[in-house]
């Protein structure tokens, strides 16, 4: 599904942040990328989703056999990539429902599926709102406007559930959540686990991994993956902290 080879990236005209990432994620797998602040986790998510402001200086990224880096951000999304934002953007004046329907129909058109009419759309929305315990009235507001931190994160997972991506990149979706919200978000993620879908969880803490069990865990430090392992790695990190990276790196 996703093949990253020797990826180097930097902030436009700035310092290099990713210094040779190699990572393969197969369909059906859940990978967790952990690491201390400033290790390059969010940069990796941003580069994969096509966030402006980064330059790839070397390496390649293939997604379902396509050169991902050659695609515009919206083309990547229509090809099935979803980035759950660490800091979801507030967009006053753009109604949530209107936005979501425009997004869903864009993605559906790209998949060769018919656009949903208002009734079908609403039905689908209702079912998924319930899953994440999001109040209906939030959807009548501007995108993320007046949402609490937890509501913003739940809204990201709700959007993911609506758009049904093939590759979901979740950038610190667990940060700032209380335990109830964390359970809801984790439940939403687990519900989306599927044989034809890959999920990459980017997180600073292992807390989320108590609820979503990853197939692989990678530890990122100073722009490189310095450790990879199965889910037991999380427990080890929990015990020793990122200080143990000193030895591994």
């Amino acid at each position: 599904m996703l093949d990253i080879r020797n990826l180097h990236a930097r902030i436009a005209e700035g310092r290099e942040i990713l210094k040779g990432i190699d990572l393969s994620v197969a369909a059906g797998e859940v990978h967790a990328i952990m690491g201390p602040n400033g290790s390059g986790k969010s940069t990796l998510a941003g580069v994969l989703a096509g966030r402006p402001g980064y330059e790839v200086s070397a390496g390649s990224v293939f997604y379902q056999g396509r050169d991902l880096l050659a695609l515009a951000p919206d083309e990547r999304a229509r090809a099935g990539i979803f980035l759950a934002f660490q800091y979801p953007v507030e967009i006053p004046g753009v109604n949530n429902m209107y936005f979501l329907r425009a997004a869903l129909n864009a993605v559906r058109r790209a998949r060769g599926e018919a656009e949903l009419d208002a009734g079908q759309f609403l039905k689908s929305v209702r079912a998924k709102l319930k899953l994440l315990e999001i109040e209906d009235d939030l959807l009548q507001r501007g995108v993320n406007v007046g949402f609490s931190g937890g509501e913003k994160k739940r809204n990201e997972i709700f959007q993911m559930a609506m758009l049904e991506p093939k590759l979901a990149l979740l950038d610190e979706t667990d940060s700032g959540l209380d335990i109830d919200a964390l359970r809801l978000v984790a439940g939403g993620i687990n519900k989306l686990r599927a044989p034809d879908r890959a999920i990459v969880l980017i997180t600073h803490y292992q807390r989320l991994l108590d609820y979503v069990t990853p197939d692989r865990i990678h530890v990122l430090s100073e722009g490189r993956i310095v450790l990879s392992g199965d889910k037991s790695l999380a427990a080890e990190l929990e015990k020793h902290g990122y200080a143990m990276l000193g030895d591994a790196a």
Binding site: D74, V89, I91, F99, A102, A106
Partner: protein
Amino acid sequence: MAMPCLETLPEGKMVAHPETSPYLDAFRARAVAAEPSWLAGRREAALGRFAALGFPTRREEAWRFSDLRPLAQHAFPPASAAGMAAPDALAPWRLAGPTHRVVIVDGRFAPDLSEIGTLPPGAWLGSTARALAERPALVEAALCESDDAGAQPFAALNAAFFADGFVLALDPGVVLEHPVEVIHLGRAATPRSFHVRSAVLLEAASRASVVETFAGAGAYWTNAVASIRLGAGATLRHVRVQEEDRQAIHIALVRAALAQGAAYEAFALTIGAGLGRHDILVRFDGPDGVCRLDGAFLLRGQQESTTATFVDHAAPGCTTRELFKGVVDDRAHGVFLGRIAVQQDAQRSDAQQLNRNLLLGRRAVIDTKPELEIFADDVKCSHGATVGDLDEESLFYLRARGIAEAEARRILIEAFAAETLERVDGTVRERLAAHIARWLAGAAA
């Protein structure tokens, strides 16, 4: 320094303002209509003021950003006869639902296209020409008032030439349930000017909603002046849509005077005209009045448009809320001049003004100049102006959900402009949103 007076100038007096001579010639050559004698004298005097003032120049602060060459380079002789328009020309501009409709073609009332309908007792709505014939006393003051608004040469020219317009007058306590819809259509195969003069006179505690649209085809010049007088506790909602032909010139002056507790709630959408200027002057004559001035200007190509507002807090306890947004693309030039004055006696004034602009084209230009002049000490006033591009993070968020860049930009621009519509009601708001959406789709180009 004494004002130059036409009569005392030596021969060759027109040399100072050669751009005025086609209008002075047209005035002498025009067929004189049967009208009250006081009006003839005012027309003469107004023409004299126009001749003495000449066209505004960039040396005047209020016109510093305006390039009036398109207006000065051609003569636009005043249209001398009523125009014709097919009923389907109204279709894009009609409001949904019942209205009292006044249609003005080439600056003159078009009875066949108008449908004033049934008015409640104490309400008068009709053409300015009819008001002059039937109710001269009603309009005499309103037609005079705006001529002494300082150096306003185009208002003076309008006062000299105006043929028609509309007048709405409500007796105390009269409430118009349906909006008054005024559609101005201009047509010109060769350059012509339409001088429209209108008045809205609402007596105490009366209420009305007026939706005016300016549209047309050709290289004409609309020169519109409207006087609005609101009695104690009266409320006027005034929506103005300017979607003139892109070859046309639109110059308009709206003056509103508010008595105690009156409310003037105005919205102005500017989309059309190659050269446009819209002055809105509001004065609180009595305490506790409310003024809401909102609007949006959407410009592309080589359009140039100025919105100039001046709200004069001449009485205490009044509130002003003003939000204008500009979207300027290509090589267009948008200007916002917003002035709020709080006079010495106007304690407890509360005024907020904001002008926000999106600069989309690399060669597009915005000039914005918010000004507060405060002479009272117990006031709450704020103003601000911003000029920027679309928010990159918002754009990325929409694109990261699969929405193509052009569509994402359209959504964000629409949301930016639509914020100004928040205080407009129901069907009118939908109509305005549709105008904005059409502009974004490029259909207005």
